[in-house]
């Protein structure tokens, strides 16, 4: 055999292989792995979202809507004064809508002057806020500045209970759970968290236990209170705190009923439900009674649309005791994957959602948080998904149309291509799915969110002082100095 020159045969093989590759590329399909279709029975999918996609994705905007939107997106956005306060005009590109948060800012202002009052925020979200990510950081910022202790309202079961660090919840396996994500007609109406739970306690006891986490401002469970709904039958619950057992009866007479576990604060407790299987259970509230409280109502797979099936009367009953001042809607991740860039159907659906919230929580301020950046592979490169910007614009449009505040998370985190950077940063700030943030990234997002809200608050205070004229108090003069720098900031933008 000719051993001397096998180099050229070797080269020939590698080179011919390259030509063969070019040939294969032309005749074989582009992708080797099909996207596997998953049996939807066991997978969390937002049924309302699927319906809307099927029904409305083809609907086109009518000419009149288009014209109206063009006017919105092109011209200046001016505001009418609320209680004598009018924020400067904005442009669509940089819309924040602080004007529509004035009632919330007013409550914060009252809290700042009277530490005994309170402010409550409901934070609705999807898997981005799972395990209290982002929300715990927003909460922490508020409690640090305005006071308040406790993690707020907590559901019974949750897919993300194990990953939640701010409070530890362990529960028996026999809870029956209904979620607004995939149930249209629940046995009893959904609670403020979009869920309703039933203690399936005929055979074994149904229980849940809570333990405070190590996080600042939530190292104890303050005034733990059970929330439950209406039923024809009564039931009992045993609260076990340390070695003591407190037996209490559940009287489900009203749409929403509350039962205090104990006054003051405990480290941990367990609740055993007895003969309570017909009573809708909603969850427990942990708050110190003063300061700011932020409830995390996250649900994996949620598009936000299911909120539209809330029962307004039940929500009003919740609001009677919880008294919300701000509702945050943080959605988008789950509507990015449908291959469409026309989000008119979503805009319409979410407008209904905002209206439902206005009806349920009268006078509440509403804040829309846009989708974050998300990357998809195009050819061989990860880039911002082409649906992100159209979705973000749709979210901005319905925020503006429904007179809600708006946080543009996409630009806040760096805009085009930022998710790729967050993932590749060292240490990384987002997961390899190029969608979800990790603890570190979530903290940064929480701070960005809080900073924008707070920026609005500082502007509000400056405007309020201008309205009230030169003040006499010394303390106010101090803030006056602050407000000068704030005004400067706003000029810089």
């Amino acid at each position: 055999m000719n051993t001397k020159s096998y180099f050229f045969q070797s080269f020939a093989i590698v080179a011919l292989a390259f030509i063969a590759f070019v040939g294969f590329k032309q005749i074989l399909p582009d992708k080797i792995f099909s996207d596997s279709k998953v049996d939807s029975k066991n997978v969390l999918i937002d049924s309302l979202l699927l319906e809307s996609v099927a029904k409305d994705s083809l609907s086109e905007k009518s000419d009149s809507i288009l014209r109206k939107e063009q006017k919105l997106t092109k011209g200046k956005i001016t505001f009418d004064a609320t209680e004598g306060i009018e924020f400067p005009a904005e442009v669509f590109d940089d819309y924040k809508g602080f004007q529509y948060l004035i009632s919330f800012y007013d409550k914060l202002y009252q809290l700042e002057n009277n530490p005994q009052s309170k402010v409550r925020i409901a934070y609705y979200g999807d898997s981005m806020t799972d395990g209290d990510l982002i929300v715990q950081d927003v909460r922490n910022n508020y409690q640090e500045r305005f006071g308040g202790n406790g993690v707020g309202f907590v559901s019974i079961t949750s897919e993300s209970a194990a990953s939640r660090g701010s409070i530890k919840a362990v529960y028996s396996k026999n809870w029956k759970t209904q979620s607004y994500l995939n149930v249209k007609n629940p046995i009893s109406p959904f609670g403020v968290n979009g869920h309703v739970f039933f203690a399936n306690d005929t055979k074994n006891t149904t229980w849940i236990s809570f333990e405070a986490g190590p996080k600042k401002f939530s190292t104890s469970l303050d005034n733990p209170t059970l929330y439950y709904g209406r039923s024809s039958k009564k039931g009992n619950v045993n609260f076990i705190i340390g070695k003591d057992t407190l037996r209490k009866s559940l009287t489900p007479n009203n749409l929403v009923n509350t039962l205090k576990v104990t006054s003051g604060s405990v480290k941990a407790f367990k609740a055993n439900f007895i003969h309570a299987d017909s009573i809708p259970i909603y969850g427990f509230n942990f708050d110190s009674g003063t300061g700011v409280h932020v409830d995390n109502f996250s649900q994996r797979g949620n598009s936000g649309l299911p909120i539209s099936i809330f029962n307004a009367d039940v929500m009003k009953s919740f609001n009677n005791t919880l008294k919300y001042d701000l509702v945050i809607l943080h959605y988008g991740t789950n509507v990015l994957n449908y291959g469409t860039k026309n989000y008119f159907w979503y805009q319409k659906g979410m407008t209904k959602v905002v209206n439902k919230i206005k009806e349920s929580f009268p006078g509440v301020s509403i804040l829309i948080v846009s989708t974050a950046d998300k990357s998809t592979k195009y050819d061989l490169e990860m880039k911002t998904d082409s649906a992100v910007v159209p979705l973000m614009n749709a979210q901005k449009t319905y925020a503006l149309e429904t007179e809600s505040g708006f946080v543009n998370l996409y630009t806040l985190m760096g805009g085009d291509g930022s998710m790729v950077k967050w993932v590749s940063d060292s240490p990384s700030k987002a997961n390899k799915d190029y969608t979800h943030f990790n603890q570190r990234g979530a903290k940064e997002i929480g701070n960005l969110l809080y900073n924008q809200l707070n920026q609005g608050y500082e502007k509000y205070k400056a405007l309020r002082e201008k309205r009230d004229g030169p003040s006499k108090k010394k303390t106010v003069r101090k803030t006056n100095a602050d407000s000068v720098s704030v005004i400067k900031d706003s000029v810089n933008e």
Partner: protein, 561 residues
């Protein structure tokens, strides 16, 4: 008729238009796009390089210089300006090795050797361990030292070790130094093994430089077979399952079910094997095409029947390096040395401190600490040759601790090394009590099967520490798996949800556990295929690599149970 225009059109259709910017991009360092063997750019560059190389096969220094220049370019594409570091350290090491070789006095030889070891390890230490040490110091003594913004040059762990082997072998008079710097630089910078091993030993490699360059048909067959296997292992199996499953679970283990955590652990075991051995195979294959034989690095390690066996089959070039230069240097099985006792003592001391620190919350950490010390002591106290076994085990443990640390700067790598070190010691004492019968047919099938299963699961358990971002995450994964209950319906749903991932995992494991005879048959069929058909097979594998690389990641699935 084919006009130049139509050729141009065809080209644009298939490859897109090529801009000057792109062409510059091929030759300029880009931290986002490392030059890996499994990229199209490498294939293109290699084709051009190889063509010229074939013409230079009869020259000597011209060929060496040509390969060195390509190697330096290859390294520059991976690490940018740090290719200068490679050059600098090679100049220093070459100089020191000459001094050691020419020095007559043994004491002075030793001094120069120590200088060179300190320099090499110092360099490695600065780039790889500086921040780890600062963080550890800050944690322990609540210090406030600022972290250095250090870039970790690719492959520094590999070429440092390779360079050290050259000097130590000269010191031990096992080899003669190269005739000049060019030959030495060729050995250190040889691009196939430069960034990810195998760690080639001077005494295996240097003689090949001086042989007449020869490439047989069999070499090419072997090389191509390795490259094909390596490409499939690395780009198809490893990359796909890591991006679409394993990474996600290890990012946030608590948001996944116990079964998903368990599967991610199995998935990681096959992923790291395919990633590492696949890349090694490609390196060995490419070297073969250039006419150089590098040692095998992996021999189906998960078929091991004991942990000792595992270390003879896993990353062989590293474990023999550690054995020859670390284990033997600190005394081997002959004598106890200060270093041999220092590291295990420090480790166990740290373990007890950790147990004490957590005693308020749980006694388990302290129990683990005391238990592992007791276990380690028992491995030599129970032995017949107590003193010698103690020395051996301490030195072995040191080797594994430092070997663990070599893989990365982090406590979890030390834990990983310690677990393996402990297991090696335990296996030793076990063998002393139950020696395997040599003359009979060997252990029965059931026993063998049982040993493989136990060893495999221990290795997978240790990989959890290796993969997890930090110690806490590793514990989360283990805790989560601990809560596994038998729910076949749930498992089925998960498996169907991640169908591609699980199929690839299965493929990886089946391939791994195939009898050797099967692979040999496959190889001999491949050897006999005509040249053109081989090219077609290779081309098809290129396409598989391409099609996998193009595949977007599988969208997120949230199961509801």
């Amino acid at each position: 008729m084919i006009t130049s225009n139509s050729i141009n059109n065809w080209f644009v259709q298939n490859f897109g238009t090529i801009t000057t910017e792109q062409i510059i991009g091929w030759f300029v360092y880009n931290p986002e796009e490392k030059l890996l063997f499994n990229t199209g750019l490498f294939l293109g560059l290699f084709l051009v390089f190889y063509f010229v190389y074939a013409f230079l096969r009869k020259t000597f220094y011209l060929r060496l210089t040509y390969v060195i220049l390509f190697s330096l370019f290859f390294y520059y594409k991976s690490s940018g300006i740090y290719f200068l570091l490679l050059l600098l350290s090679s100049v220093v090491d070459y100089g020191l090795s000459q001094v050691i070789y020419n020095e007559k006095s043994n004491n002075r030889k030793k001094i120069y050797l120590v200088i060179s070891v300190i320099l090499n390890l110092g360099l490695l230490g600065y780039f790889k361990y500086m921040n780890f040490m600062i963080v550890t110091f800050n944690d322990l003594f609540s210090g406030n030292y600022v972290l250095h913004n250090v870039f970790l040059p690719v492959g520094i762990s590999f070429y440092t070790f390779q360079s050290m082997s050259y000097i130590i072998e000269i010191y031990r008079e096992e080899i003669k130094p190269t005739k000049n710097y060019i030959e030495y630089l060729f050995f250190v910078s040889f691009f196939p093994q430069l960034v990810a091993g195998p760690i080639v030993r001077a005494k295996d490699f240097l003689p090949q430089i001086y042989q007449k360059l020869n490439l047989t048909r069999q070499d090419v067959n072997n090389g191509l077979f390795l490259i094909i296997g390596g490409l499939i292992k690395k780009t198809v199996i490893s990359n796909y399952i890591s991006v679409n499953f394993v990474d996600r679970v290890f990012d946030t283990p608590m948001t996944y079910t116990s079964f998903e955590n368990l599967m991610a652990s199995y998935g990681y075991a096959i992923q790291i094997y395919c990633d590492f051995s696949g890349y090694s195979d490609m390196a060995i294959g490419i070297a073969l095409l250039l006419g150089f034989k590098l040692p095998a690095n992996f021999r189906t390690p998960y078929k091991s029947t004991s942990i000792t066996d595992f270390w003879r089959r896993w990353h062989i070039s590293l474990s023999t390096w550690l054995k020859d230069f670390l284990y033997i240097s600190i005394g081997g099985n002959r004598e106890g040395t200060f270093a041999g006792y220092l590291f295990p003592s420090l480790f166990f001391f740290g373990l007890v401190l950790w147990g004490m620190a957590n005693v308020n919350e749980s006694y388990i950490p302290l129990g683990i600490a005391i238990g592992s010390i007791a276990l380690f002591c028992l491995t030599f106290l129970l032995s017949g040759k107590r003193k010698q076994t103690a020395v051996t085990n301490f030195n072995l443990f040191t080797t594994m601790l430092l070997g663990g640390l070599w893989h990365g700067a982090g406590a979890q790598f030390i834990i990983w090394g310690a677990l393996h070190g402990l297991a090696l010691a335990v296996h030793k004492i076990f063998m002393e009590f139950f020696p395997s019968k040599k003359e009979s047919k060997g252990p029965g099938f059931l026993w063998r099967f049982f040993s493989i299963v136990i060893t495999f699961h221990f290795v997978v358990f240790c990989w959890i520490f290796f993969r997890a971002r930090d110690f806490e995450t590793a514990l989360q994964v283990i805790n989560n798996i601990g809560q596994l209950t038998f729910e076949p319906e749930q498992w089925q749903v998960i498996i169907l949800g991640y169908k591609n991932v699980f199929l690839l995992m299965l493929f990886g494991y089946v391939w791994h556990f195939l009898p050797e005879g099967f692979t040999t048959t496959l190889k001999s069929v491949f050897d006999k295929t005509p040249l053109v058909l081989k090219a077609v097979v290779l081309g098809f594998v290129y396409w598989i690599v391409y099609a996998t690389a193009v595949a977007g990641s599988q969208p997120f699935i949230y199961f509801q149970f």
